[in-house]
Amino acid sequence: MVDLTQYLPILIFLVIALGLSGLFVFLPMGVSRLTGAHKPSKDKLAEYECGFPAFEDSRHQFDVRFYLVAILFIIFDLEAAFLFPWAVSLDLTGWAGWITMMVFLGELLIGFAYAWKKGALEWE
């Protein structure tokens, strides 16, 4: 069973971080509400860039190649995640486990070679 007391410092850290970030967000809001005049108008709330009105929507369409990079990242991320339990349990699984992982790495190496050969990793 997992010893949860090991995670207590992380929990304390999380609580402190939440408290501090909440303080940094809400304290200035409260102070400015109490000390300054709060009269929002349409012109005050309009978005602008460097004094000019915004030319267009801030959300552009992305190039589809970002998606390809993200997919490749997920796949190699998963590969790395699979390596952790393999590495710590190698004495339990023995040669069968070692060969399994080598075949798995070989499969992904084929994919990597394919991606490289097709030029999917190039960004002009």
Partner: protein, 206 residues
């Protein structure tokens, strides 16, 4: 005590951020709430003792899947006015889908509680090894008993990679020349420079 408080905080945060995912107007905000839900789910996983799953949630879901969702959301051109205009048009279809899902859930839970669904017998092969850490138990099972399933997971990843490349990669003509480092390094000074002694009044031919 702390365990219980942490559980209720994490569970409440998961449910609240999950509700905000589907009610947020802006899809980018939805993805950010989803990331918060993933973090809190990781906290819950730590509480039930599945440490490795918790770390996997943070590494894979927050690190990679959420980024992919953000890219997909940003790749779609979102016109909020148009989105709201389509609400009435797609409302019957949405209700139909919701009804199908609800009936599937009722059928599934009903079949399970009636006892006609077998989810395997508890023979103890999936229990964690005694006295071993979570990640070592997972490793011993995944690379021992379930090794062929693991290999097929690798094949699925390979297919996903090839599929993504085939679908999204477009050959671009070599507009700009590519640098050939081998060719550059192999070049000697003798190949590039020539010594000549032109006569007076005559030029040299290059």
């Amino acid at each position: 005590m702390i365990h219980t408080i942490a559980f209720y905080i994490f569970a409440a945060m998961v449910i609240a951020s999950g509700a905000l995912v589907i009610t947020a107007r802006n899809p980018v905000h939805s993805v950010l709430w989803l990331i918060l839900a993933f973090f809190n789910a990781a906290g819950l996983m730590v509480l039930v003792g599945a440490e490795f799953i918790a770390m996997l949630l943070v590494i894979v879901y927050v690190g990679a899947v959420a980024v992919l969702f953000l890219f997909v959301v940003m790749m779609l051109e979102i016109d909020f006015a148009e989105m709201r205009a389509g609400f009435v048009k797609y409302f019957p279809l949405g209700v139909l889908l919701a009804l199908i899902l609800v009936s599937e859930m009722i059928l599934g839970i009903g079949a399970y509680s009636a006892g006609s669904m077998h989810l395997g017998t508890a023979d103890g092969v999936g229990t964690p090894l005694m006295g071993e850490s979570n990640i070592r138990s997972i490793g011993a099972l995944l690379y021992g008993r379930y090794l062929f399933l693991f290999e097929s997971a690798g094949l699925v990843l390979l297919v996903a990679m090839v599929g993504a490349i085939v679908l999204t990669h477009r050959e671009r003509g070599t507009v700009r020349g590519h640098q050939n480092i081998n060719k550059q390094v192999r070049r000697r000074p003798g190949d590039a420079t020539v010594n000549t002694r032109p006569e007076v009044g005559k030029g040299i031919e290059l």
